[in-house]
Structures are given as C-alpha cells and as structure tokens.
C-alpha cells in the first residue's frame, strides 16, 4: 500500500486549529451556561494540541510536541473533573448553572 503522509501541508492543519480555537473562544465569551463554558475550554485545548502535533511533524528529531500534547491531555482531564465538581457544588447552592448567578462574592 502506498501511503503518502506528506500530502497535506502544515498550513492546513494550522488553519483548522486556528478556526477551532476561535470557535471555542467565541463560545466561551458568548455562552453563559457553565457546562458549555467548560466544553468550550476543551475545544480550545484540543485546537492547541493539534498545532503542537502538527509542528512536531515538521521537526521529527524527537517527540517533544507529541509529549507536550500528552501532558496537556492529562491536565485537561484533571481540569474537567475539578471544573465539573465545582459546577455541581455551585448548582447545589444556587439551583442553576448560569454563570451570571455566580455572584456570591459580590457585595
């Protein structure tokens, strides 16, 4: 089987990653549901991972980019667990998941 792993240029991957990051960031700014905010963060982290892996494909002497993406996956999993626990605790107090209602510290 003739695999051509050089067919897609680097810029295509970077463009997809940039558009995906923009989608995540705009969602983070526009939405006010805490669950959707957390999902937007996951989308942004995935976009960053894609750029890291794509650049690693350009510099193939070691796997620094892929290993960095691996650690980002670890941190993203930890962040999702903590974030969802905070959302649950917040929901228990205020009976809502709207970010506007997270104003317990407002005077």
């Amino acid at each position: 089987m003739n695999q051509d792993l050089t067919a897609v240029p680097l810029e295509y991957f970077l463009t997809v990653a940039g558009v995906l990051f923009a989608i995540g960031a705009i969602g983070f700014l526009l939405r006010r549901n805490l669950l959707v905010l957390l999902m937007s963060i996951e989308v942004m982290l995935n976009a960053v991972n894609l750029t890291l892996v794509a650049f690693n494909r350009m510099h193939t002497e070691n796997h620094s980019g892929q290993i960095f993406a691996f650690f980002i996956i670890v941190v993203a999993a930890a962040e999702a667990a903590i974030g969802l626990a905070i959302v649950l605790a917040f929901f228990r107090v205020r009976r809502t998941v709207r970010s506007d209602d997270a104003d317990l510290l407002r005077n």
């Binding site: 810029e11 997809v16 995906l20 669950l35 894609l50 350009m58 290993i67 999993a77 903590i82 605790a89």
Partner: protein
C-alpha cells in the same frame, strides 16, 4: 489532486469544525457534548494523519471515553436546569467581546494565508516508527520521566479535590431551598 490522504483530511476537518460549532451553539448541553465528541473524533483522525498513533488512541480513550462521559453524567445529574433559557443581561458587552475576538482571529488567519502564499510548507516524510507507543514511551520514560511522575501526582490531587468539592455538606440543599423560598432568586447571596 485528490489523494486518499487529502480526502481523509477533508473529512476530519468537516467533523472537527462542525462538531466545534455544534458544541458552542447547542441550546441543550447534551447535544453540545455530542458535538464535542464529534470534534474529538475528527481531531483523532488528524493525529493519525500526522503520524501520532499513540496520541490518536489516547484522544479517543481519554476524551471520548472519559471526559465526554463525565460531562454527560453531570448534565444528567443537574437535570432540566442544565439547559435554562438565557436572559439578555450584559448581552452587549459579550457580543462586543466575541465580535472583537472574531475580528482578530480572521485577521490572523488572513495574515497566515498571505504569508504562506503559493509555497505551502510540505511536510518531510516521517521517520520509521514516529509516534508509535514504543518510541514515544521510551522518550517519556527516559527524558521526560520527572514531568510524567508529576502528572501522576496532579491526577491524584485532582481526584481527591474533585471528590472533596463535589461532596458538599449534608444540609446544603435544605438551606438553599429555604433561602429561595424566602427571598427569591437574587436574594440568596445576602446574610
């Protein structure tokens, strides 16, 4: 020229971007989680194209298998309140911020496109065994063994912290219900 790889890249791009848009635009968070799942699968396909097999497998296992399921569990625990109707407070500021960010993103993309121009950067052919579990594992367990161990500690702390935060006190629900009944939505913060 449409090779198999280019077609696969197009498919993955479609999955990723549509999934991303669906994630942030869905009114119902369950559908948002499904969009996140689709986007994650698209990214995993791109990792395969970039000869990162181990990461593609990890992406499916950790994100699709754990993170999205965790989101679904929490959405179902919260119930109908998870998809409340939005209100219009502070809408102008949010739309202004999002519009400004979108403008900056479009400008950055235009700059990238112009810089690349006609000569796109062609990837070098990958060395044998790039991204396989043997090669990446050897690097993680020799050069990067300290960050690896620290990541394990981080995960342990995250597990304990998540349990401690989510557990709550036995009386929490009762107190908040009393407050709600007494003073309405915005009065809960007082006292």
């Amino acid at each position: 020229m449409l090779t198999l790889e280019t077609a696969f890249f197009g498919l993955c791009t479609l999955l990723t971007l549509l999934g991303g848009v669906f994630t942030v635009a869905a009114k119902n968070p369950i559908r948002g989680a499904m969009g996140l799942l689709v986007a994650i699968l698209g990214i995993a396909g791109m990792y395969l194209l970039l000869s990162a097999e181990l990461l593609a497998a990890l992406q499916v296992i950790v994100y699709a298998g754990a993170v999205v399921i965790l989101f679904l569990f929490v959405i179902m625990l919260i119930g109908p309140a998870a998809s409340e109707a939005p209100d219009a407070r502070g809408a102008v500021g949010r739309y202004f911020g999002a519009g400004a960010f979108a403008l900056v993103a479009v400008g950055a993309l235009a700059a990238i496109m112009r810089m690349g121009g006609a000569a796109l950067t062609k990837m070098p052919p990958p060395p044998a065994g790039m991204g396989t579990i043997e090669v990446v594992g050897r690097e993680i367990f020799t050069r990067d063994v300290v960050p690896f161990e620290i990541a394990g500690v981080l995960l342990l702390i995250a597990v304990i912290g998540a349990m401690a935060v989510a557990k709550g006190k036995p009386g929490d629900m009762l107190i908040s219900q009393n407050k709600r009944g007494g003073s309405g939505k915005s009065g809960g913060a007082k006292s």
